[in-house]
């Protein structure tokens, strides 16, 4: 091969990669987007907002759904469960003993497509209708799973009724499949979102009946493979497909074990030692996969940063019978495949953020902690955002700021970097648990009743 040809080949690779990067940065195709909440700088992105300030538009969304919006080109997709009757109102805060509720009315499981420019509903599609059989935690919804899209189709999963559907961008249903609806621990409801890679759609369904993971052909919904999982239904974590320098793998996080599979469902490595309940989703940054769980009553609340290429059992704290006190004071450890880990750093609901080289932990109780994402060295310890705030949405970062959205709808804007400093707070005055979408200079925040498109306007 001549030098010119080699150069042309290399340039073509660079061009393709650059194009893909640009294309990806212009979309928000899944839960937490292409980079797990870390967004490239963009002067159009808002720094200050309220329910009126810097609001490009606000669209009411029927029903209740804590799924995040996904955005592709000129469309924003949302799911919701709409009841015919009045339902119990979700209560923000930090609790675990509230009554779990049954539905009062017939529910319709809906998909909405909104126009990017003006927020108008372009189409809506009812995918299922019934009086829900499963109960849920009062803070959960029957539409908590975030859809995923490849730009041609939208893949929607409603765990509460076991329904998976593929729709085209016009809202026509291409296929549906029911994989069964199952209770999770103490009827808390479902939340784990689907993951997409190539032609395959992956669903992890950990439940109290028989936990499993399935891979479906995204074109037809045909089941390609299914594996049983030894999980007890304590998990609401979305799997992540990890394309690393060695291979492509699907990392699934569960209370009874972190397991990574190849694309055919063969186990590659596993790790034991999580907290009693697992909600945060694994994500990729800096060539590592970050894993955590942090139920407050658990003897472990671990965070792991894992190198590619692991094999077999890489557990650090597998002893289920070890007492809580043995974990303290919670020093950092590492091993061949574990770049760093802490036994007591994990969060209950929020997923962490890696932004500008720092790993940010947003504790549900409204405290922010920063570590070096590569080494795990602590940069600063627990810093209080505000007394009395609960946090479920995952943090995000852009323009040198880290953003933490409370359940009360207040976003705390914090300077990224080694010094903790709250710059200001932006309030929407309505409860939210959904993690926002950020795309093309716009921030999309879903509250209990509406979706906001927020961007910096000319004079603000």
């Amino acid at each position: 091969m001549s030098l010119a040809l080699i150069l042309a080949y290399l340039l073509s690779i660079l061009f393709v990669n650059a194009t893909e990067t640009v294309a990806q940065d212009n979309q928000w195709e899944k839960f937490r987007g292409p980079n797990a909440g870390a967004v490239p700088d963009d002067p159009r992105l808002p720094d200050v907002w309220s329910d009126t300030k810097n609001v490009i538009w606000k669209q009411s969304v029927p029903g209740l759904g804590w799924s995040s919006p996904v955005v592709w080109n000129d469309r924003i997709f949302l799911t919701s469960a709409v009841s015919t009757d009045a339902e119990a109102v979700p209560v923000p805060g930090l609790y675990d003993e509230h009554d779990h509720i049954s539905a009062n009315g017939m529910h319709r499981w809906m998909v909405y497509a909104l126009n990017f420019d003006d927020g108008k509903i372009l189409w809506e599609r009812e995918l299922f209708r019934e009086l829900p059989e499963l109960r849920r935690h009062i803070k959960n919804s029957y539409a908590s799973e975030t859809p995923v899209t490849d730009g041609e189709h939208l893949f929607v999963y409603f765990g509460s009724v076991g329904l998976i559907a593929a729709l085209d961008m016009s809202g026509d249903v291409i296929w549906t499949k029911n994989i069964g609806s199952f209770n999770t621990l103490i009827e808390l409801g479902t939340a784990a979102s689907p993951a997409l890679h190539g032609d395959r759609l992956f669903i992890v369904n950990d439940n109290t009946t028989a936990s499993f993971m399935v891979a479906l052909d995204k074109h037809t919904g045909r089941e390609l493979w299914r594996i049983d999982r030894e999980e007890r239904g304590n998990n609401w974590s979305t799997p992540v497909v990890w394309e690393n320098r060695i291979r492509t793998e699907i990392v699934t996080v569960g209370t009874d074990g972190v397991r990574s599979y190849d694309l055919d469902g063969q186990l590659l490595w596993e790790l034991y030692g999580m907290s009693n309940l697992t909600t945060p989703s694994p994500f990729i940054a800096n060539g590592l996969v970050y894993i955590s769980s942090g139920y407050p009553g658990g003897a472990l609340r671990p965070v792991y940063a894992i190198h590619p290429g692991a094999e077999g059992d890489i557990s650090l704290w597998a002893d289920e019978n070890a007492s809580w006190s043995t974990r303290f004071p919670g020093n950092r450890v590492s091993s061949e495949y574990v770049a760093w880990a802490y036994p007591l750093l994990g969060t209950y609901n929020t997923s962490a953020l890696v932004y500008r080289g720092q790993y940010y932990t947003l504790l549900d109780r409204g405290l922010l902690i920063a570590h070096d994402a590569q080494t795990g060295q602590e940069i600063y310890g627990r810093q209080r955002l505000k007394v009395g705030s609960g946090f479920s949405a995952s943090p995000w970062g852009y323009n040198g700021k880290v953003f933490a959205l409370s359940e009360a709808g207040d976003t705390y804007v914090i300077k990224a970097g080694e010094e903790f400093e709250i710059v200001h707070t932006n309030s929407l005055n309505e409860m939210t648990l959904a993690t926002p979408a950020i795309v093309r200079g716009n921030l999309f925040i879903r509250t209990q009743s509406a979706l906001y498109r927020i961007a910096r306007t000319e004079n603000q």
Binding site: G93, L94, Y95, E97, R365, L367, R384, G388
Partner: protein, 331 residues
């Protein structure tokens, strides 16, 4: 030979049981039942001539100036379950689960009035007062601190991070104490309002649900065990001893270096802690129903009796309250 050993052991065991039973009978005579009130009761407290009874979400006040004929004065129902309460002067501070902190004015005990409240972020499980600060064990939210300078407008001023679930709090002077599930015992400087980080945190307690303070002694109750700590140095509390009670210790209060223990089906147990290394049973009182809670005021002891809670619920409903006099003389 083996048969001889068997009979010898059986004889010793029989004597032990007999002596133990005799001891119980003798100790039972230390308490004299004054009156048994047929009222639902999960929690009891005494203050001067008033008896306060919490059952589920209702707080009821009795006048017990005449011990043999208590008079019900009033009841106040909160929107949520009462997990605990604290009486300071003419105010009752109530930890009412999702409702948060409620402040009742009882200057007219026939007409208690809710004069202030603040919703805490978690679930209010216990409240103690230190000066103008209310400490609340707020479950997943840890310990929340509320300024009660103006009881009509209580204001959240801080929160202390606990590793587990905040279960109970206590206060002595400007020092606060907290326990969490599964294993934490924390000491908090209530004057250090900038950081609200504990002065010390021990993670070796065993499922503590209750913390009581008296002088340099901290009593933790959890997993059926009294756990005794020396807190003379607040930055380094020292574990002294554990004492497993026969009834699984549900709640307890400290009075004159004695732990009065609501010991479930085994009744009321009084444990002498004058030597914290060697807790010793000083007295007990048995009743046909399990003992849920206990309060002490001078010579007067009040117990709440009834079926024991299961799981996370405080109450099985029903029950009653028994006023006991410690000693031989009834008032």
């Amino acid at each position: 030979m083996r048969r001889h050993i068997f009979f010898k052991r059986t004889f010793i065991a029989t004597v032990f049981v007999f002596v133990s039973s005799l001891s119980q009978i003798i100790q039972a005579q230390d308490f004299h039942e004054i009156i048994h009130l047929e009222v639902p009761a999960d929690l009891v407290q005494l203050e001067d001539s008033k008896l306060f009874i919490a059952a589920e979400a209702t707080l009821t006040i009795f006048d017990i100036s005449k011990l043999d004929s208590p008079q019900r004065l009033s009841s106040y129902e909160f929107p949520e379950k009462i997990w605990d309460f604290s009486i300071i002067g003419t105010h009752v501070y109530v930890a009412a689960d999702f409702f948060g902190l409620g402040i009742l004015d009882i200057s007219d005990p026939i007409n208690p009035e809710l004069i202030g409240s603040v919703k805490t972020p978690g679930q209010a499980k216990d409240v103690e007062i230190s000066g103008a600060t209310a400490l609340l064990a707020d479950h997943m939210s840890g310990v929340d601190l509320v300024d009660i300078t103006d009881p009509e407008t209580p204001t959240s001023i801080g929160s202390v991070y606990l590793d587990g679930y905040g279960r109970d709090v206590a206060a002595s002077g400007t020092i606060g104490y907290a326990v969490d599930d599964p294993s934490g015992f924390y000491v908090i400087d209530l004057q250090e309002r900038d950081s609200w980080e504990p002065l010390s945190a021990i993670q070796s307690a065993d499922g503590p649900r209750i913390v009581e303070i008296e002088d340099d002694l901290a009593l933790l109750v959890g997993k059926g065990t009294l756990q005794i700590y020396d807190i003379s140095n607040p930055t380094a509390p020292t574990h002294r001893s554990n004492y497993g009670t026969p009834g699984g210790a549900h709640r307890a209060v400290l009075s004159d270096n004695h732990a009065y223990v609501a010991d479930g089906k085994m009744g009321l147990l009084v444990v002498d802690l004058n030597n914290p290394l060697v807790p010793t049973v000083a007295a007990s009182y048995r009743h046909s129903e399990p003992v849920r809670d206990v309060a002490v005021y001078g010579n007067l002891v009040v117990i709440a009796v009834g079926p024991l809670p299961t799981g996370i619920r405080r109450s099985q409903g029903g029950g009653g309250v028994i006023l006991l006099n410690r000693g031989t003389q009834q008032n």
